[in-house]
């Protein structure tokens, strides 16, 4: 039983990593109607930004806050202005293809700048391990899980309960009507991309100690995040958390009690099942116009 809980807790920690990245998908979709297939790279780039600041002598926390500024500028404002704004009028598919291209550019650029080898990354929660009746839980696992939950529910409250959050969703659902209602469309859209960049930086801070800083770390992370978002519900932030945790725990259970050969297939199998029997995801709702 102890082993079972060990596997489940570790899976939840890994799943919350997927969830943080999945939030990038759900947020941009909910608030701007954008699907960003460079989500994994949006996590990878801040990781290297933090490493760059640390190499200049800045401590981890300062590097993180400096990275927040850089990410807001580059991954928020820059992404919106150079990719989304020009492409959005052509529909979702061209934008999807553009973000796939962007992910390749980001990977190649990082490889050229930082090399192809994995680099160690400090853990903000330290390396202490707690023993709960035989189940070993690291400070990092706990921290990641708690932060993911706080971020997910905080974001949900922000989008549903605040004027700004609702305005952001209104802009995503019907830009013209939102403009007629006096909402500053440009500003709301920027807020969405800025929050996405901040979330990606936070995800980088939490996941890189485990994934290791590497130019291609976003590939599997991005895929798992996308599957988590689909499973949980693409238009629901809590769905991202649920989807991520389901994948993380299922992978670990399969690896322990079936065979590790099936680990990576679990997420895809769950994805297929959800698409077949609950196309909107476990917590997703049929899209409705609220504005």
């Amino acid at each position: 039983m102890v082993d079972f809980f060990q596997v489940v807790i570790s899976g939840m920690a890994t799943g919350s990593i997927y969830a943080l990245a999945a939030l990038g998908f759900t947020l941009l979709w909910q608030a701007s109607g954008t699907i960003n297939f460079a989500t994994g790279e949006f996590v990878m780039l801040p990781a290297f930004s933090m490493l760059a600041f640390m190499s200049l002598g800045a401590p981890l926390i300062l590097s993180f806050f400096l990275t927040l500024a850089v990410a807001t500028l580059v991954l928020g404002w820059g992404f919106k202005r150079t990719i989304v704004d020009p492409m959005r009028k052509f529909g979702v598919m061209p934008l999807v293809v553009a973000t796939i291209g962007l992910s390749l550019i980001m990977r190649s650029g990082t490889q050229i700048a930082f090399g192809a080898q994995a680099l160690p990354f400090p853990n903000i929660f330290g390396y202490e391990v707690f023993d709960f009746a035989g189940v070993k839980v690291s400070a990092s696992d706990l921290g990641t899980l708690v932060v993911a939950m706080v971020v997910v529910f905080g974001l949900q409250v922000f989008l549903q309960r605040t004027v700004t959050g609702r305005a952001m969703q209104a802009v995503a659902q019907n830009t013209e009507s939102a403009e007629v209602l006096g909402i500053n469309v440009s500003r709301m859209t920027f807020y969405t991309f800025a929050i996405n960049a901040i979330l990606a930086s936070l995800a980088a801070l939490l996941v890189t100690p485990l994934y290791l800083a590497k130019f291609d770390m976003g590939i599997s992370l991005g895929l798992k995040a996308f599957l988590a978002a689909i499973i949980g519900g693409f238009n629901n932030s809590r769905g991202a958390l649920l989807g991520g945790i389901i994948i993380g725990v299922s992978e670990n259970l399969a690896g322990t009690y079936v065979s590790s050969s099936y680990r990576d297939g679990v997420a895809l199998a769950l994805f297929l099942l959800v698409i077949l029997f609950k196309p909107n995801g476990l917590l997703g709702l049929p899209t409705e116009r609220k504005v």
Binding site: S10, Q111, Q117, P120, S138, F215, N252
Partner: protein
């Protein structure tokens, strides 16, 4: 009139260009071309980058000392992306480019599909892989730069047999050609020992979460773990082992105590024991200088792959000098059965014998990670000195 002048100058320019073009082969005759087909991205990044930097350091040294038989080495580096299909295509391109020798790939899977190309073209191919199958195909042009799994694993098995505190063992391997080859070799070598394998755990290349693997390991109640995974996975495994409080011996082959793993795993690497064919910590003349030179050139400490690449170039040089001419077939033939002494050829760092299959025989070492550094805890003689 102007058109006439233009034509005259154009003709002169064309003749000049042609002359330059025809002069190129005479320049090329002063060089010997080698190709580096390396894993510079993907799961093999650490191995391939180390191997490439080792080759490049040797090339730089040899060129500075006058080259091989007076010819400068000209090298090109390409990235296989750790993909066997791409590796094969790149080796074909190198062969078409008339290289004298090919260095790489490092991953056994890539070597297995690309070495047929160098064999068909009769181009000596110095590879970094340790998979036993590489030299079991009868390929006369493939040469290792390290011990094979079938040579290394009996040494590991003998070491485990000598440990009275290890009666049961769990084997954890990465599910690729490298990992499966190592697993098969250790299982075979352990059959003649008192050590019983009680768990056989397969893991995926690029796996991030090792919690389920470590839970299975703990459930086996094995006295020790034998791990055979690539660098990044080894680092993640060591961290998970530390997290879950694994306090029994962790033993592996080369990778688990590699410099990159130590860097990535941090304190979690302490205590890991590995049999290594090559290590900068080896008590042999020239190794310390190599380690310093490598670090100065590349900004990081080399692992065994760095030494493989470096010594591989010097093996080629020794063979060409023995033959006395740039004849690929003669050089490949000379390498089989050749003994290269480190006294005569300091670049090989350690005395080495190459057998008729392209396998190497030389001393190897047992190392343990102590305070974040490899410490040699034993020197194991060549198999021929048993």
């Amino acid at each position: 009139m102007q058109a006439h002048i233009f034509k005259k100058y154009a003709l002169a320019a064309a003749l000049g260009a042609a002359a330059v073009g025809f002069a190129v082969p005479s320049v090329a005759a002063d060089t010997v071309k080698i190709a580096e087909i390396m894993e510079l991205t993907g799961p093999g990044t650490t191995s391939g980058t180390n191997f490439k930097d080792g080759v490049n350091l040797a090339v730089k040294e040899i060129n500075a000392a006058g080259g091989i038989l007076g010819r400068q080495i000209e090298t090109t580096v390409v990235d296989t992306q750790s993909n066997p299909g791409i590796a094969k295509g790149l080796v074909q391109k190198a062969v078409d480019n008339d290289v004298f020798a090919v260095f790489g790939p490092v991953f056994t899977g890539s070597i297995m599909v690309s070495m047929a190309v160098t064999e068909d073209a009769k181009v000596p191919n110095f590879v970094g892989g340790e998979g036993a199958a590489i030299t079991q195909q009868g390929n006369k042009y493939v040469f290792r730069t390290s011990l094979t799994q079938t040579d290394a694993m009996p040494k590991v098995a003998r070491y485990l047999d000598g440990r009275k505190d290890v009666n049961t063992l769990a084997v954890l391997f990465v599910n690729n050609d490298f990992g499966k080859g190592g697993r098969d070799a250790i299982l075979k070598a352990l059959k003649s020992t008192h050590v019983k394998v009680v768990e056989d755990i397969s893991t995926a290349s690029g796996q991030v979460d090792f919690s389920s693997a470590v839970v299975k390991l703990k459930q086996s109640h094995a006295d020790a773990l034998f791990s055979y995974t690539n660098e990044e996975e080894s680092a993640r495994l060591l961290r998970e082992l530390k997290k879950q409080g694994w306090d029994k011996p962790i033993i592996g082959e080369t990778t688990i105590a590699g410099q990159k793993v130590i860097e990535l795993a941090g304190p979690a690497a302490n205590g890991a024991i590995a049999h290594v064919g090559l290590t900068v910590g080896a008590p042999v003349p020239g190794m310390e200088k190599f380690g310093k030179d490598f670090h100065a050139a590349n900004g990081y400490a080399p692992d065994h792959n760095g030494i493989k690449g470096y010594t591989g170039v010097y093996m080629l040089k020794a063979a060409i000098e023995k033959v006395g001419k740039f004849d690929r077939q003669a050089v490949a033939a000379a390498l089989h059965g050749m003994h290269i002494s480190a006294k005569e050829h300091p670049g090989v760092l350690m005395d080495v014998t190459i057998d008729g299959k392209g396998d190497l025989d030389r001393e190897s070492f047992l190392v343990q990670v102590v305070d974040g550094k490899q410490k040699v805890i034993g020197v194991l003689p060549p198999l021929s000195h048993k």
